[in-house]
């Protein structure tokens, strides 16, 4: 029989008592961790969100390089990202023509406030279709240049019943080595693997970043960072609601490069033309398959055209001329052969309307881009025939 002696403060002094408490605590810790790992409630927890409830839904997916100033953050849970977005806020009504935009940072709106992105300008036009439906565009761009990332987001977006998908792309999203390099793809290996298997893709799912995480990573302890991220995203919702800011736009930034290096390589490919295996054109087919019956407008997005040093061999910092010309040719041919709706807007925006990179645009540049897209939206939405080119 254990003697239950107590100190003046009421604390039992017996060492065995404390050992007992510690053992029980350890037992419960192990049980809860194993249960968590077995049940994998992560995606379910990620869908619990105060956005669209206490705070307005975000106008674009969460992304932040400097969370304290952006009031926004990057995280890996697609469920949480979508749950915080306005698209999760309400089911589509009969009077809504739902347009989703996927793509890279120029679509997300890098260096632009949320009300001056491509989607925002489309909404600003208040397009009403002949059948009375109002066009509402949702910004589902994300600042990563990878077609595989676009597919990942598109496959999630399909649950929100879009009527039209606008998919702006640029050559930098096509190289094979860029497809799975971003943490967003590496931290969603199950989803990437599922896409790979379902659509028989050629993604390197055996790369180190895509290896199945060990069991311990599924426990509460292993998932502590992603759980903390979910909480932080909710807290930043307060700041989003209070300020309407989701991206810090510095007053001064380093402008896109006008004078270019005398280098004609593109991702170590010397040219003068791509091999079929150099670029992931196959992912465009997958995008069309994911979209199914929903029309897709494939857009070659505007780029900055330099007139500085070495501009005779390069268009801009990203692209040697041969590479970009060859890519455009391929994209055009593929679209024609497969009867895809394709718009090539590569030179549609004035060179002065680019900010810190060859694809990021000023509000005015984005507005020019939006105007051109609006024409296509009206045309596509008004008729089912995909014949824009």
């Amino acid at each position: 029989m254990v003697e239950k002696s107590r100190s003046s403060a009421g604390y039992p002094k017996n060492l065995r008592f404390y050992a007992d408490v510690l053992l029980r605590a350890l037992f419960l810790l192990i049980v809860f961790n194993l249960l968590y790992a077995a049940l994998s409630p992560g995606p379910l927890l990620a869908r619990i969100s105060a956005y669209n409830l206490l705070f307005p839904g975000r106008l674009r997916l969460p992304y932040g390089e400097n969370p304290e100033r952006d009031y926004n953050m990057s995280l890996s849970s697609l469920e949480a990202m979508f749950a915080s977005h306005e698209i999760s806020g309400k089911p589509k009504s009969a009077s809504e023509f739902r347009v989703v935009l996927i793509g890279d940072s120029s679509i997300w709106g890098f260096l632009l406030p949320p009300e001056q992105t491509l989607a925002a300008y489309i909404n600003e036009a208040e397009i009403e279709l002949p059948d009375g439906r109002a066009v509402h565009a949702y910004n589902l761009g994300y600042p990563v240049m990878s077609l595989a990332k676009d597919l990942l987001i598109l496959s999630e977006a399909m649950a929100y019943d879009p009527d039209l998908i606008i998919w702006p792309v640029t050559l930098e999203s096509f190289p094979e080595d860029k497809q799975l390099s971003h943490p967003l793809l590496q931290q969603n290996p199950d989803k990437v693997r599922a896409l790979n298997e379902k659509y028989l893709l050629d993604l390197d799912v055996q790369s180190p970043g895509q290896i199945q995480a060990p069991f311990l990573n599924d426990t509460i302890i292993g998932s502590r960072r992603s759980l903390a991220d979910l909480l932080r995203l909710q807290l930043y919702g307060v700041m989003w609601a209070a300020t309407g800011i989701d991206h810090e736009i510095p007053e001064v930034y380093i402008p896109r490069q006008e004078d270019l290096p005398a280098d004609t390589n593109f991702h170590n490919i010397p040219g003068p033309a791509f091999n079929t295996s150099d670029l992931a054109f196959d992912l465009l087919f997958t995008g069309q398959r994911i979209a199914g019956q929903v029309p897709v407008i494939l857009v070659n997005e505007p780029i900055f055209l330099s007139q500085g040093r070495n501009s005779h061999i390069r268009y801009n910092f990203f692209y040697p001329r041969w590479a970009y010309d060859d890519y455009r040719q391929h994209l055009s041919t593929l679209s024609r052969e497969n009867v895809w709706v394709y718009i090539d807007l590569w030179d549609a925006v004035d060179k002065d309307q680019f900010t810190n990179s060859a694809i990021h645009m000023t509000p005015e540049g984005t507005r020019q881009f939006a105007r051109l897209l609006i024409e296509s939206i009206i045309e596509i939405a008004g008729s089912s025939a995909p014949a824009l080119e």
């Binding site: 403060a9 604390y11 307060v238 209070a242």
Partner: protein
């Protein structure tokens, strides 16, 4: 303190408490405290200052002890051991620059060894001079208090701190153009200075017990409390250190661990989460509605409380592991029914310090000198000046001045209200339900008064504070 530092302190304290013979514990705690002062020091852009600032903390401590030392110390030699330990800590930290695997305890590489040896020699010379010639000379302790206040004013006033940084940068051969007032983050100086002033002042009034150099250094630089207090009194600290009031190690370990756990939760979970949505000079301008401005302000108020009281819990818990009961600094301050009660439960040790060394002597002096002056005027001057000084303790800026004046005025108004109510409606006070209602209303008013006061505290200048007030009230 980071989580890693807290874990190291827990391990060190438990080792000392459980494995060290009792008569050696004090020395180990002193050794740990001396190294912790260097380890906890934040980095600074002024070269080597992250070594010299903690070194100066130790130097000020030993010099203060030389002033307040017991008269019979000259016949003993324990101070010699203490001095060797202190000089040894300088050299140990300095020598780490030559051990690539262990370098460095300070945020950047310590200065050359020869500079450290010269510094130790200078401190020893100063120490010997003060040790030999201070007994019987009251002006030395007064000069000590003056020096600490001057240092305090320099560090806390942006203009002077900027000038000091320029000077120090010049000495180190760095550009003075880049000097800013944030260049001098002297770890825990506000708390150290108040401990030292307390010792010097109590020495002047013969209230100080005899204390050895080892004991005094542990008191002033005790590693759990060196960063953010509490500001203990030597008379209370000594019996614990000497083991006179020591409880059983197992009980201290359990209660200390419990306290540290709650402290970590408060600081690293609650406060750090609330920090993301707390009002600051950036988001106060960006907030676009009254309701959200209030939300940011509420978040700031609770973040401040959880952050500071969390640190205090960790300090008290670590102290408890070592067998030393540090004083409480918070007692549910936001639930108090009036402002006086709030100030008896918010940063208690600082308020007690000011009460003992400023408010009480001032009001006593005013009452003695100006017997004809009405009581309310003495209270007004006493409370306003005390609270303004408490404000300026945080930094010598107009914002902290305004925050102090806000609370000083509040305390005075509360004092007058209590007097008025006592004379007019004693029946309401004595009735149980009347007392409950007035307690609830008082709590509501007090909390919101304190809450609005944080606007002065959080904003860098009064103009911005006024902008926030306008937003809070819908303008």
């Amino acid at each position: 303190m980071t989580l890693v530092q807290i874990l190291v302190f827990i391990a060190f304290t438990l080792l000392v408490r459980w494995l060290c013979p009792r008569h050696w514990r004090g020395w180990f705690v002193l050794g740990g405290s001396l190294l912790a002062v260097f380890w906890l020091q934040p980095s600074t852009p002024v070269r080597n200052l992250d070594f010299w600032l903690p070194a100066a903390s130790i130097a000020l401590t030993v010099l203060t002890w030389a002033v307040i030392r017991p008269a019979e110390t000259s016949r003993r030699v324990p101070w010699v051991t203490g001095m060797i330990l202190i000089a040894g800590s300088f050299l140990t930290v300095g020598l780490l620059r030559y051990l690539p695997g262990l370098c460095c305890l300070t945020p950047s590489r310590p200065p050359q060894l020869i500079q450290i040896i010269v510094a130790v020699a200078v401190i020893l010379v100063l120490f010997t001079l003060v040790f030999r010639f201070s007994p019987g000379k009251n002006w030395v302790s007064t000069a000590g208090i003056g020096l600490l206040i001057i240092l305090f004013v320099i560090l806390k006033s942006p203009a002077l701190a900027g000038l000091a940084s320029s000077g120090l940068r010049g000495v180190q051969g760095q550009s003075a153009d880049l000097a800013t007032f944030t260049d001098l983050p002297w770890l825990g100086f506000s708390y150290l200075a108040f401990r030292l002033i307390h010792a010097l002042r109590d020495f002047q009034t013969n209230k100080l017990p005899p204390v050895s150099l080892k004991e005094f250094s542990v008191y002033a630089l005790f590693y759990p409390a060196v960063t953010a207090g509490p500001i203990d009194r030597l008379q209370r600290f000594l019996p614990d250190l000497r083991g006179a009031t020591q409880t059983e190690a197992i009980e201290d370990t359990i209660q200390g661990s419990e306290r540290i756990f709650f402290g970590i939760m408060k600081k690293f979970v609650l406060a750090d989460s609330l920090a993301l949505i707390s009002m600051n000079s950036q988001n106060a301008i960006q907030a676009n509605s009254t309701i959200w401005m209030w939300v940011l302000l509420y978040a700031y108020a609770f973040r401040l409380y959880f952050d500071f009281s969390g640190y205090t819990d960790i300090a008290i818990g670590l102290g408890r592991l070592a067998g030393i009961r540090l004083p409480e600094n918070f007692d549910k301050p936001y639930s108090k029914p009036d402002l006086t009660a709030f100030w008896n439960s918010w940063h208690i040790t600082l308020a007690q310090w000011f009460r003992a060394y400023f408010f009480n002597p001032l009001t006593r002096s005013l009452r003695t000198r100006y017997r004809a002056a009405p009581a309310w005027s003495v209270i007004l001057i006493g409370q306003l000046s005390t609270m303004i000084l408490i404000g300026l303790w945080h930094g010598i800026t107009w914002s902290f001045f305004a925050w102090g004046a806000w609370h000083g005025s509040g305390l005075f108004i509360h004092n007058r209200w209590v007097e008025w109510r006592r004379s007019r409606s004693p029946a309401v006070e004595s009735h149980p339900s009347g007392s409950k209602i007035s307690g609830f209303l008082g709590g509501l008013v007090t909390f919101n008064f304190v809450l609005l006061g944080w606007v002065w505290f959080a904003m860098p200048d009064p103009d911005m504070a006024l902008v926030v007030f306008l937003k809070l009230f819908g303008r």
